[in-house]
Symmetry: C2
DNA sequence: GTGAGAATCACCTGAAAGGGGGATGGCGTA
DNA sequence: TACGCCATCCCCCTTTCAGGTGATTCTCAC
């Protein structure tokens, strides 16, 4: 099944010892995989990566202290050649998107079969991306999507400038309108998003990809 | 190649007529695809989706007025059963992540071959996700990643609460510390991120997936 | 042509945030 | 031990923001 004789070196990161053990025994069945180490948190992982430079790091997303997402980001920054596959028990798409945004090239569910793990490792090793199959939009996450308010074009402009760090006077100058007008738009934004300060407004808008 | 006799109904969205025409002729070669329509912007697309309810919408990302990302979000909200495959000429991962976050189940490069488009349509139709192969971490995007400041655990807590919309007095109460202390942490956050107000701080932190 | 919504401008008040400064104890490490 | 880093607390002052209320123009659709 392998096109080369080199073994894929692999590091597994998870805060649950049971999971690590399970992965170890499962991976032992794959002749072409060399398990370079097991880490129970991001710091251990970074140390081992520094020492061993594995081809692939298979990491849990939900870990205390430093999440798998942050770990992926660290790996991308310090060891760009090392590929990251994320694992999670949840199907939330938001995690997938975050992981990819932070450099992961694969996403596996922990419930993945032996065959799926095998396919993921091989494809990622060969330079492709691999996404878990079981992602057919579950119902619960649908309703989780809160509807965004409808913004006018002017409100969008103001929102953009706010998110760029402009103060109201700066926005007024840029848009050639009065400070009062900017203030009004800003208040309308807060009202429409149903929040009471800028911080939350910007977080919601950013997560909704309006910015 | 198809496991069912039903044709896959498809809507293509792109603001370049040439691309639409090219897709039309290419798709005509796939016997199992029924092209329900071509749209040159998001509004046309939504109208056609409402009428035709295609299985899959293949949409460009870079469109004026309303981007493909926003269109994906609209489709997810109004027609959850309709699957979205995004297309773009660029390889930026950030677009991929955003598209997925907003409901896309596939990502194609416009340079994709006939075979790749075929595979994408079939896999998405069958309920899987499909990601373009040609995504081996290009160099330019690497350096684009700006390094984030190192935050202390306390600063992370404060940052999180700020992003939740808490004011300094509220944060002080929650963390059982003085208002002055919260203020100090907040100032340090602004300094570390090299910004001068909360709005930009939150945007950067959110985009970096710290929140 | 009436009405709805958008965009504009205005005034007021109090709370919150931003920008300086300085100070203390704790804790780990060089 | 001395230094750096963190977390904590305190003061000053100015600017900005949030909440409320109200009004005028303009456009677009009905």
């Amino acid at each position: 099944m392998m096109s080369t004789t080199e073994k894929i070196s692999l590091l597994v990161v998870d805060d649950h010892p049971m999971v690590l053990e399970g992965m170890r025994s499962m991976l032992a069945q794959f002749g072409y995989v060399h398990l370079t180490g097991l880490a129970s948190n991001a710091w251990e992982a970074m140390d081992l990566i520094k020492q061993e430079r594995p081809h692939i790091v298979l990491t849990d997303i939900n870990m205390p202290e430093v999440s798998g997402i942050e770990l992926a980001e660290k790996i991308r920054r310090e060891f760009p050649g090392v590929k990251v596959i994320a694992m999670s028990t949840f199907k939330e798409r938001s995690y997938i998107a975050q992981m990819i945004q932070h450099g992961a090239v694969g996403y596996l569910l922990k419930s993945a079969s032996r065959e799926e793990i095998e396919e993921a490792l091989l494809r990622v090793y060969e330079g492709y991306m691999y996404m878990s199959h079981h992602l057919h939009m579950t119902e619960p996450e649908q309703q989780e999507t809160k509807q965004l308010p409808v913004l006018t074009s002017r409100e969008k402009e103001v929102l953009q400038l706010i998110s760029d760090g402009c103060t109201n006077p700066e926005i007024a100058k840029r848009l050639f309108i009065s400070l009062h007008t900017v203030d009004t738009h800003r208040k309308n934004l807060l009202t429409k998003f149903n929040v009471n300060n800028t911080a939350l407004l910007i977080k919601i808008a950013t997560k909704a990809a309006l910015l």
